[in-house]
Symmetry: C2
Subunit: 331 residues, 2 copies
């Protein structure tokens, strides 16, 4: 019997499912909208249906899905797999692990999406095995995951990695978390759209608006495009985002001294040409010489699949018992 793995990246707006081999090769994937307004039961039904469908499509008679790993936005109770109170999904105390195990009749692991992305990058995005890796997603929000000494660092209550809620501008914009000037409030996709909106309200940012074909919600994509085409206001937005990200990364490099910092998420992926070199220069100038030694700052090559790869990595570790794998974690 050949063993296969099912991976689920449950996001606020879209769900990615995939089936992979024990060698980490993704055989097939599916993407569908979360429709979070339908509530948790509907979402869990559709995830379950998608895995069943992929299983039928992928699996030969001698193949079977033996592990299911699900990534979800936090906060999350781990390893119990209970979504405690997710602002992104608008869920309260959803027993995701238990419910999906029941539906799929298989054992399931649920972990935070940013932790899994960091692990995915660690196992599938990097040559060799770095001792430490800091992953930052710059997307609708800003989040992070820490791999320290080759393990996910979850913190005392599972709340580690909230990199988006480092204050980088004390007098800055109010964040959803209640603090002012958090990285997420200034450098996320949502924050960039809001900055453009504020510019437009002041009668500025016309170049950016044109780039978006005058559509209402200008995204980081259009800002990036306008910046590439030389629009000054767009370039200023990009430059501020680099400064905020650079400040946060420099702080983290001084404190955690990781071997590698990897960025992912829609904004980082879409702005690769705008961000990567500038961020490297900014951070390496700001931090201690010792901490800049051998420091790599990269944008992930795993693209949108980074979280799926983290699910696969978790499943593989789970299958190879004895490495601190959670195989003894019963549903």
């Amino acid at each position: 019997m050949r063993k296969l793995i099912a991976a689920v990246d449950l996001g606020a707006s879209k769900i990615l499912t995939g089936v992979a081999t024990a060698q980490g090769q993704i055989l097939m994937r599916e993407k569908f909208p979360t429709l979070k307004e339908n509530g948790p039961d509907d979402i869990m039904d559709r995830i379950s249906a998608s895995i069943s469908k992929l299983s039928v499509l992928c699996c030969n008679p001698d193949e079977q899905i033996v592990r299911v790993v699900v990534a979800t936005p936090g906060p999350l109770s781990y390893p119990e797999g209970i979504v405690i109170g997710s602002p992104n999904l608008a869920w309260e105390s959803v027993h995701l692990k238990y419910e999906l195990s029941k539906r799929l009749n298989r054992r399931v692991i649920v972990d935070k999406d940013t932790n899994l992305a960091a692990l995915g990058e660690y196992y599938f995005g990097q040559q060799g095995q770095p001792d430490s890796l800091l992953y930052i997603t710059v997307s609708t929000g800003v989040g992070g995951g820490l791999i320290l000494d080759k393990q996910i660092w979850r913190g005392h209550t599972g709340g580690a990695g909230e990199i988006g809620h480092m204050q980088v501008e004390p007098q800055g914009r109010l964040c959803n978390c209640g603090r002012h000037g958090c990285l997420e409030a200034l450098a996320s996709g949502t924050a960039i759209s809001r900055t453009v909106k504020e510019l437009l309200q002041q009668g500025k940012g016309i170049g950016i608006l044109t780039m978006g074909n005058d559509k209402k919600d200008i995204t980081a994509r259009e800002v990036g495009e306008a910046a590439r085409q030389g629009d000054y206001e767009a370039q200023m937005i990009v430059s501020k985002v680099i400064q905020y990200l650079g400040t946060a990364v420099a702080n983290l490099v001084n404190i955690i001294n990781p071997e590698i910092v990897v960025l992912g998420g829609g904004v980082a992926l879409g702005w690769r040409d705008l961000l990567l070199e500038a961020l490297n220069i900014y951070v390496k100038r700001e931090v201690f010489t010792l901490n800049a030694e051998n420091l790599k700052i990269e944008i992930t090559k795993l693209g949108e699949d980074i979280v799926l790869y983290g699910c696969i990595a978790t499943a593989l570790r789970w299958m190879c018992q004895g490495d601190g794998s959670p195989d003894n974690v019963q549903v």
Copy 2:
């Protein structure tokens, strides 16, 4: 033969040496000025002489110092024990471990003072064994040490823990490290003295000046005393320091999610009554609910001996081989 331990806290202005039992009891200690202008050789000679003296005074015929652990300000090459380029000691490439081993004819471990302070707190300052502890020293400078999963987290190149160089005020005062508004530039003892000096230059801060008996260099001690006696300007200084420390600690709690945050160093110890409650309130208000769960924020009860206790803890781990102790590290 009863085994004893020698511990050395080599600071920029003073050196503390001590001899302790294998149960961690400090039998005798000595304190003398560093006189860093005399250079490394003289300092190492005097450390060596002090340990020899304490050894004669402490040791019965059936007792012997078997381990020597030295704490020094970073940056440091570990486990080689080479002080790379310490701004505090004004040392460049001093082979501290090798030189002291030669002088004492004993094997020596050298580690960063903040790492050792964190370890000292972990083993001797806490009931039980927390899974993670973040130590912050607020003294002449601001530094830190991380205990994650019961081990010192050193980072990729040994530079982890530079908590003093988190930027908490982007437009703030220039720091020695070259960045603006680092925690150290705003909340260290040196920074507090400088704030008073700036106030005095503006013809303000007279209440604080009186408290210092009109001496020239007003320290955090006088500012604290003035604040306790109701001086408004002193209270404002204290309140800003709490805000800066609170911002940094909140950022760290969101990112690392430690079980315990412990403050030490002269300013924290001297301002215990002014800082502790306010800092607890500030941080717990700023961070995520999950990260605030069970979070303890304390000021060390080990006082000035915290680094010596870290040296002792290291020596004990070294003596109990098999726990990742550095007993196989040859000079």
